[in-house]
């Protein structure tokens, strides 16, 4: 809990809004976010951002949120992460993944076990937010590397855009005090590519068409490609027709790199399958141990770790603007700095020319809920 006279950390704009709020919640620090879309025609917080703030309020105890009259600034005083059983209706402007992704950061450090039902769109073609499979197959296995094991996501109903009607259950039974120190120094070699092509309220052949086109692209990789069709019918298939695909490249050591896509109106299933398959290959070529979309979670948990240096091998392409923004946020909130250097003597082979080593000392974080006990 933040102290009464604590000076808030000030951030500008809506960049990384969710991550800043989540990190502030973990650190128990008050943040003030100003100039939120202040130059836009429609200024201030969007409906989904307000909804996310309400969700944070629901999974914590004692959180205070002050939103300015215009919505362009917000003061967030986090409480204790309490978890428990919560049901949240997400607006149809953002998919459930937008709300679920940040909860994954909070769940292991909660006082009670997380059991949250989120209702809304299970995927969206208009935004670049996480799909449910991406979280299930990409984020949760990464959390296992930090010692968070009993975490799962179940899709109870699928809800395609625009009307949604989906329902997702997220639970986390693994409550830890702090994440394990992370050492990921090996280059990932992919042994299999798996995936799921799903469709709701359209012909079941749509899923097969996606699978065929994706498989055609991935065949030359010479690894096992296994994509399953997931056809939803009846009441559990939501209110709108839709389709999508998630592909996951797996290594024998349990690292997973993924890509996903959702069909929008006018998209051919073949085009979607082909595009997502090529994006998976592109992601592989620009990743090392973890993908670009897994990097923030990995870094956040490294920062939260015990007072020991964690190491992560990254690809040079992963050092981008988003990474710098996130590292700056970590420094502002936790006071922790990352150190990036070339592989040097630790280089195993010639491919390590493109790789770098990111080291970060954990802050010795203890969950606020555990402190209070």
């Amino acid at each position: 809990m933040p102290s009464v006279n604590e000076k808030p950390l000030v951030f500008e704009g809506h960049r990384n809004l969710r991550k800043r709020l989540v990190l502030a919640t973990l650190a128990g620090k008050t943040v003030k976010i100003v100039k939120i879309r202040s130059n836009h025609i429609d200024p201030g917080l969007k409906d989904y951002e307000v909804s996310f703030l309400r969700l944070l309020e629901a999974v914590t105890n004692g959180t205070q949120i002050e939103i300015s009259y215009t919505g362009t600034s917000v003061i967030y005083k986090p409480g204790i992460i309490i978890g428990g059983e919560v049901t949240h209706q997400c607006p149809n402007t953002k998919p459930i993944g937008y709300f679920l992704e940040p909860l994954v950061y909070l769940a292991p450090f909660s006082k009670k076990k997380f059991s949250i039902i989120l209702r809304g769109l299970t995927a969206s073609d208009r935004t670049s937010d996480a799909g449910i499979e991406a979280i299930k197959w990409g984020m949760l296995p990464l959390m296992e590397k930090f010692g968070v094991r009993e975490c799962a996501v179940h899709i109870l109903k699928r809800g395609s855009p625009p009307l949604g009607g989906g329902e997702v259950h997220f639970f986390c039974n693994s409550l830890i005090t702090s994440p394990l120190t992370f050492h990921a120094l090996e280059s990932t070699k992919i042994s299999a590519i798996r995936g799921v092509a799903y469709c709701t309220r359209v012909s079941p052949s749509t899923a097969n068409r996606i699978i065929d086109s994706a498989r055609k692209v991935l065949r030359p990789t010479n690894v096992e490609v296994n994509i399953t069709a997931d056809v939803w019918r009846g009441d559990n298939s939501g209110k709108s027709p839709g389709f999508g695909v998630t592909l996951v490249a797996e290594s024998k050591k349990g690292w997973r790199i993924f890509s996903e896509g959702v069909g929008s109106s006018g998209t051919l299933p073949e085009d979607l399958g082909e595009r997502v398959a090529y994006e998976l290959l592109e992601e592989l070529s620009k990743s090392c141990v973890v993908g670009r979309n897994q990097l923030p979670l990995c870094l956040a948990f490294m920062a939260l770790g015990k007072e020991d240096v964690g190491r992560l091998k990254i690809h040079k392409e992963q050092v981008d603007e988003n990474l710098i923004w996130f590292l700056r946020d970590l420094k502002d909130i936790f006071g922790v700095e990352a150190f990036i250097r070339d592989m040097g003597v630790e280089a195993v082979d010639s491919s390590d020319v493109n790789h770098m080593m990111l080291s970060m000392k954990g802050v010795g974080f203890t969950s606020a809920a555990k402190k209070a006990v």
Partner: protein, 112 residues
């Protein structure tokens, strides 16, 4: 100075400097940032002042999850080289052996 050797920046020093935007940090680190860019930026700012401001459609992208990819055609071109083994050295021909547990298909064909 024209013709002078470009300075190699240390990413660790750059990335936490509050007066440098993260996009510029990357440019400097990759050696894509010249002193001339600063002059151009100033000119661009003047030009933009008199232009009608366009609304950003991608405003939500500041809090995105899925990375941005090149167009499908670009990706196709890149990976057609990879699988045929005729791409640029160090990038394409070694792709399969680098990332997949199975041996490179093209090498296998050569041996046979």
């Amino acid at each position: 100075l024209k013709g002078s050797v470009k300075k190699r920046w240390n990413i660790n020093k750059l990335m936490y400097l509050p007066n440098i935007e993260p996009s510029d940090v990357i440019k400097r680190w990759k050696g894509l940032y010249n002193d001339e860019d600063i002059e151009h930026e100033e000119e661009d700012e003047d030009d933009e002042f008199f232009k009608k401001k366009e609304l950003k459609n991608s405003e939500e992208d500041l809090d995105h999850f899925i990375p941005f990819y090149n167009s499908l055609d670009d990706l196709k071109a890149k990976f057609s080289n990879v699988f045929e083994g005729n791409g640029e050295k160090g990038e394409s021909s070694d792709f399969l052996s680098k990332f997949m547990t199975t041996p490179n298909v093209s090498k296998k064909n050569d041996n046979s």
